[in-house]
């Protein structure tokens, strides 16, 4: 018997011996192999903090935090140039578009959608997709589900632009839709989405139940690309997608029976505020909440090229009256915000240059708590 095995055996004996004594001791032995699980019923106050880990992009992560307790519930390791997790509508599975290389940063590239069990936070399946996933600053529209959750849409950039369609029911790659000149995926129904085109128009795409294209309309120009472009950081509230320009102009894209139509245009900033250089900024700079319809925007003062800078204020707007109803002062500059969907919503605030998540009462704006040491470069905040 080898010395190592003997050593192991000795250890074993020691354990047994000790267990013998354990009975006599105040504390009983802890069992081996106990692994915690996450409650099956997700709290509306949970948040997934996605981290691209910029300095070491092969090690992307998604961290699950309970906004009420500030507890770290668990995490997922999600590969190279990670954007974000996508939560199934029924909460029964987590979709994660991931990229891996056979030698870490070189070798064969493999793209997959990994399916994770939300209770055990472990992989339960993997769907092979074309190795074309866009590698960019993480955006929500990099991957979205259609309204009924039947299809997962993933933006590709090689630099040819297209959308990978994954059937979440059969858990198979359903096909690829070319979107030349148009980027990202913004769902508009159970079988439709649009991409934003370089000329400010939208590509309105409709699918059949197999995920294949039935109709594609190149709309008239919706946005002013040349002078004051809208960011790609749109947020959806019901039948409306809201986009905001570098300068703070709000553009609504309305989903109507007649197709996609430009809605009301208004501004986040008054003329006076504009003169004071107030503007929206950040990565995930907008959030919404229904009942009542509210828009949350990260604001800061800076020049025209600061459209990605973090801000220390969140301005809250009544979307019916299109008026600001609140200014929330943050404790730290935020580049990403998210608001939970429930009736006692929390406002989460994070920033890539920090590892702190701050939690506020989304209605009163009151600071509630901070969670420290979350990842290295937190990007997108995703709530159930």
């Amino acid at each position: 018997m080898s010395r190592t095995v003997r050593a192991a055996a000795l250890a074993a004996v020691l354990v047994l011996t000790c267990r013998g004594h354990a009975a006599a001791s105040a504390l009983t032995p802890d069992p081996l192999g106990v692994v915690a699980t996450v409650p099956a019923a997700a709290s509306p106050h949970w948040v997934w903090v996605n981290d691209v880990v910029f300095a070491h992009m092969s090690d992307g992560q998604a961290l699950l935090v309970d906004g009420d307790s500030g507890r770290f519930l668990g995490m997922l390791s999600t590969g190279f140039a990670f954007a974000r997790v996508v939560l199934a509508k029924d909460g029964k599975v987590i979709f994660s578009p991931e990229t891996y290389f056979s030698r870490g940063t070189r070798g064969t590239r493999t793209d997959v959608v990994t399916l994770y069990d939300p209770v055990h936070l472990s992989p339960v399946g993997e769907i092979a997709i074309p190795p074309k996933r866009a590698a960019n600053m993480p955006m929500m529209a990099d991957s979205e589900l259609t309204d009924d959750g039947a299809f997962l849409l993933i933006y590709n950039f090689t630099p040819a632009q297209s959308i990978t369609v994954v059937d979440t029911r059969s858990r198979r790659f359903a096909g690829e839709i070319e979107t030349p000149g148009c980027a990202l995926a913004y769902p508009t129904g159970p079988r439709s989405f649009f991409s934003i085109c370089a000329d400010g128009a939208l590509l309105d795409v409709h699918l059949d139940d197999a995920g294949h294209v039935t109709r594609r309309i190149h709309t008239r120009d919706m946005f002013d690309v040349s002078s004051d472009p809208v960011t790609e950081k749109g947020v959806r509230l019901g039948s409306r997608w809201l986009f905001v320009s570098y300068g703070g102009k709000v553009y609504s894209v309305d989903i109507t029976p007649r197709g996609l139509e430009p809605g009301a245009r208004w501004s986040l900033v008054s003329d006076a505020e504009r003169r004071q250089n107030w503007r929206p900024g950040g990565l995930q700079q907008l959030a919404v909440h229904a009942n009542p319809d509210r828009l949350y925007a990260i604001m800061h003062q800076g020049g025209p090229e600061t459209h990605k800078d973090p801000g220390k204020e969140v301005w809250v707007y009544d979307l019916r009256r299109r008026q600001r109803v609140q200014r929330i002062a943050l404790r730290s500059p935020a580049g990403s915000i998210q608001v939970t969907r429930d009736d006692k919503p929390l406002l989460f605030a994070a920033f890539m240059g920090s590892t702190r998540l701050e939690v506020y009462d989304a209605k009163s704006g009151a600071y509630l708590r901070s969670v420290e040491n979350l990842g290295t470069t937190p990007t997108l905040l995703v709530t159930p």
């Binding site: 190592t4 050593a7 192991a8 250890a11 020691l14 354990v15 011996t17 000790c18 267990r19 013998g20 004594h21 354990a22 006599a24 001791s25 105040a26 504390l27 009983t28 032995p29 802890d30 069992p31 081996l32 192999g33 106990v34 692994v35 915690a36 699980t37 996450v38 090690d59 992560q61 699950l64 507890r71 770290f72 519930l73 668990g74 995490m75 997922l76 390791s77 994770y116 209770v119 055990h120 936070l121 472990s122 920090s354 590892t355 702190r356 420290e372 040491n373 990842g375 290295t376």
Partner: protein, 177 residues
């Protein structure tokens, strides 16, 4: 030399220092996660005085807080505390695998005045948790005495999740005799 000077001198070391200093830990937080000070990181190790007989510390409230580096069971732990990572002092976070083979230490429980054999089983199969780093070095031996060394990534012992390390548990095996 003031504590702060000592911290300036070797920041990471301070992390494991049993004297509570939330302020510094807070300030260090980002940097720590940042520079990736990790379980195996020895700079913090041995900065600990033994819990046993360490009278001014024995009654320390944190000695009974499983998420504290000062928790009595952690007298020879080396890594991220699983209690801060979705697990507990003895259970692994969701989706990780507890490595069955590891090294054992002996810690003194000020609550009952007894010594216990503690097994430091790593939780494995995901990237580093990165939270609640705790490095303490009592009785640590070189690599050539494996079952007494905390310089190994003990996820090695897990056939399922060999070798990615996530966090460390501190299981009571038995009363030491």
């Amino acid at each position: 030399m003031s504590r702060f000077d000592r911290w300036m001198e070797a920041s990471s070391r301070s992390v494991a220092r049993r004297t509570s200093r939330r302020g510094l830990l807070g300030a260090l937080g980002a940097l720590l996660v940042g520079v990736g000070v990790l379980p195996l990181l020895p700079v913090a190790r041995g900065a600990e005085k033994p819990v046993k007989g360490d009278e001014p510390e024995a009654g320390h409230p944190e000695a009974q807080d499983p998420t504290s580096c000062n928790y009595w069971r952690h007298c020879a732990i080396d890594g991220f505390l699983c209690g801060c990572c979705g697990g507990s002092a003895s259970a692994c976070p969701p989706g990780t695998v507890q490595s069955p083979i590891t090294w054992v230490g002996t810690c003194h429980n000020p609550a009952d005045g007894l010594d216990y054999v503690i097994s430091y089983n790593d939780c494995c199969g995901k990237s580093s948790c990165g939270r609640c780093l705790c490095n303490r070095n009592e009785g640590d031996m070189p690599l050539y005495v494996p079952f007494r060394s905390n310089d190994y990534d003990w996820c090695t012992g897990s056939s399922v999740a060999n070798i990615p390390y996530h966090c460390s548990t501190a299981r009571v095996l038995a009363r030491a005799t």
